[in-house]
């Protein structure tokens, strides 16, 4: 069920400002792809352009091609809502719906899309998703409690459960561990390893070790200079990027000799 994503010559704009320039890459199916790079170089912007979340921001637009499963995402005939059902997203800060219980948060994607289902079916999805997100044992006795009552790490895993409950083909994660402690981070990294067998995962991270631990391929984004658009410097297998990168600036960034 997982699919690969082909990106060719992608330019991303905020109004007239070119934020990311000329990205070409292929994200393999059933693998973890990590994006690293300094703040403001357009990693998150690029990630958001992969499920058409970018255009939610007023004035934001995209030029170029993103091809998923043979279909160009930015073709006028494509329905962005349908795209987002297939390509899920987990955000930097946990954002469970405050009006809903843990149970309803997991089912939000299904319920909000007015999918009718039996109680047993719903229970099934909730348990499967929460187990998938490594959260089931912690919350199984309080599914009716508000989702906002969980700790930060639990909330983030709840958001992951919510994202996988709709069974997307691709899961985009925008710095999912940046607000979490090492134990929650480890739980989420384990989870990424497990999810890899079913989903195509793309993760943005500022943590180099995390990129090295979880990903199969790594893309390094950088700015040419302040005020210039970000661009993809190097895209290679993670083992190569971290041991013998093609570009000297990649090596400089990874080894901490950046800037």
């Amino acid at each position: 069920m997982a699919t690969s994503i082909d990106i060719s010559d992608l330019n991303i704009y905020y109004g007239d400002f070119l934020a990311v320039e000329g990205v070409d890459m292929t994200i393999r199916a059933r693998s973890v792809t990590a994006f690293i790079g300094p703040s403001g170089c357009g990693k998150s912007t690029f990630l958001r352009s992969l499920n058409r979340m970018h255009e939610v921001i007023p004035g934001a637009r995209v030029e170029g091609k993103v091809v998923v499963d043979g279909q160009s995402l930015y073709d006028p005939s494509i329905d962005p809502v349908a795209v987002r059902r297939q390509i899920g997203m987990v955000f930097q800060r946990p954002n469970p719906f405050p009006t809903m219980s843990i149970y309803d948060n997991v089912l939000a994607g299904n319920r909000l899309n007015a999918k009718r289902m039996k109680k047993s079916e719903a229970d099934d999805i909730v348990e499967r998703s929460l187990r998938g997100a490594n959260l089931w044992t912690e919350v199984k006795d309080r599914l009716g409690k508000p989702g906002m009552g969980l700790s930060g790490g639990q909330q983030q895993r709840l958001c992951i459960a919510r994202a996988i409950a709709v069974e997307p083909q691709v899961l985009l994660m925008d710095e999912p561990c940046s607000a979490l402690d090492p134990i929650s981070t480890a739980a989420i990294e384990d989870l990424i390893h497990e999810l890899k067998s079913d989903y195509t995962i793309v993760i943005v991270t500022h943590n180099m070790q995390q990129a090295a631990r979880v990903s199969d391929d790594t893309g390094f984004f950088n700015l040419k200079a302040a005020g210039q658009p970000g661009h993809l410097v190097e895209f290679n297998a993670t083992s190569k990027v971290f041991s013998n990168p093609d570009d000297p600036s990649t090596e400089a960034y990874i080894s901490g000799r950046f800037g």
């Binding site: 499920n51 979340m53 939610v56 007023p58 809502v81 349908a82 795209v83 987002r84 059902r85 297939q86 899920g88 997203m89 955000f91 800060r93 954002n95 469970p96 719906f97 405050p98 009006t99 939000a108 994607g109 319920r111 909000l112 899309n113 007015a114 409690k145 508000p146 906002m148 009552g149 958001c159 919510r162 994202a163 709709v166």
Partner: protein
């Protein structure tokens, strides 16, 4: 001159331990100062034959000068300033409470005597002197206010949704915001004249209809509802909308199922306060609804009595039964104040009931 400081090192005094302890006047000092100031002022007033107002003003002046002076002598300048500002803030609060408390007191004192089962369940048909009641006016107020709410809540909430979720600062949205601001400032009598003009165009001259009053009141309510809803929708974090979009939820469904429930507590509070605000309007109802002595529950058929207009006409009619009419006006005022206060309390309770829970 040598560059080296030749004074013996040991002679410099060792720095004292961090000075974290400071002298303080006792916690009951403000109360004590207030009592002393009042006592002194009362004493002076008794001896010199001052009026109550002069005594209160003197007590206040003594407190404002005395408490900071005491604090300055013991605690130092910074704390003294704090005491001064605290005293001034409490004084303005007390000042603001004076009209409210005296109003409630007046209304209860003058109105409670006339309240009875008969007063609340009879209308004024054929009543000249004692007896009769405000049932017709009470029902009129409820019907017209309910209709006004039914008109203005959908319009107001939908307008606010457009402004926040769809308009986002485009020309149309800016124009609407400006017009809403202008509407907020419309005098209620003008709203009444507007409704009167509209219904005169439709039904001919001399028209008196309950629905006209509801239209006039909704002209006053809509801007309040729009404003309150707008502020609440602005408070809903963008992240929640994005979370819903990322799950493949269409925009309209995100608004209905995520944004509105999150903001519901505040919206309901805003609406209830808007209702409370218009329930006591007199001028527009006087123009377009008129008044009557009998019960009329049909807002599409002729005059209706309402509490504010009932109060107005009871007090202004005069004549032989002036005393009874004034008593009934106070009773009606008490009922009206009770309705408005109940609505305010209800708004708080509802706001709390609907607000998102964090519960651990």
């Amino acid at each position: 001159m040598s560059l080296i400081d030749e004074r013996p090192v040991a002679a410099t005094p060792a720095p004292a331990a961090m000075a974290l302890v400071a002298p303080q006047i006792p916690a009951y000092a403000p109360l004590l100062a207030a009592v002393l100031a009042t006592g002194l002022a009362a004493l002076a007033g008794l001896l010199l034959g001052w009026s109550l107002v002069a005594v209160v003003l003197t007590a206040w002046a003594l407190l404002v000068v005395g408490l900071p002076a005491w604090s300055a002598a013991i605690e130092g300048e910074r704390r003294a300033k704090d005491r001064l500002v605290t005293t001034v803030v409490w004084s303005t609060f007390a000042l603001a409470m004076v009209p409210l408390a005296s109003l409630v007191w007046e209304v209860v004192a003058n109105g409670h005597a006339v309240i009875s089962a008969e007063f609340l369940t009879y209308d004024m048909r054929g009543v000249l002197g004692a007896g009769g009641g405000i049932y017709h006016a009470l029902m009129g107020t409820l019907v017209i206010t309910a209709l006004a709410t039914a008109i203005s809540v959908p319009i107001g909430v939908l307008a606010a949704i457009y402004l926040i979720e769809y308009g986002k600062g485009n020309r149309l949205a800016r124009t609407i915001t400006f017009l809403v601001d202008v509407m907020t400032g419309i005098p209620s009598i003008v709203a009444g004249l507007f409704a009167f003009a509209v219904f005169t165009l439709i039904f001919g001259p001399g028209v008196r209809l309950g629905i006209g009053g509801a239209v006039a009141l909704s002209v006053l309510m809509i801007p309040i509802v729009v404003r309150a809803t707008e502020e609440m929708l602005k408070l809903v974090p963008e992240e929640l909308r994005e979370a819903a979009y990322a799950l493949g939820v269409p925009k309209w469904r995100t608004i209905v199922k995520v944004v509105l429930p999150t903001a519901l507590g505040g919206i309901v509070t805003g609406v209830t306060l808007a209702i409370a605000r218009v329930a006591g309007e007199t001028a527009p109802l006087l123009i377009i609804v008129g008044t009557t002595t009998t019960l009329n529950l049909n807002p599409f058929d002729g005059r209706m009595a309402t509490l504010p207009v009932f109060i107005f006409s009871s007090v202004t009619t005069g004549g032989k039964y002036d005393a009874e009419q004034t008593a009934r006006a106070w009773g009606a005022a008490l009922v009206l104040v009770a309705i408005v206060m109940t609505l305010n309390l209800l708004a708080r309770a509802v706001g709390r009931a609907f607000s998102p829970r964090t519960g651990r």
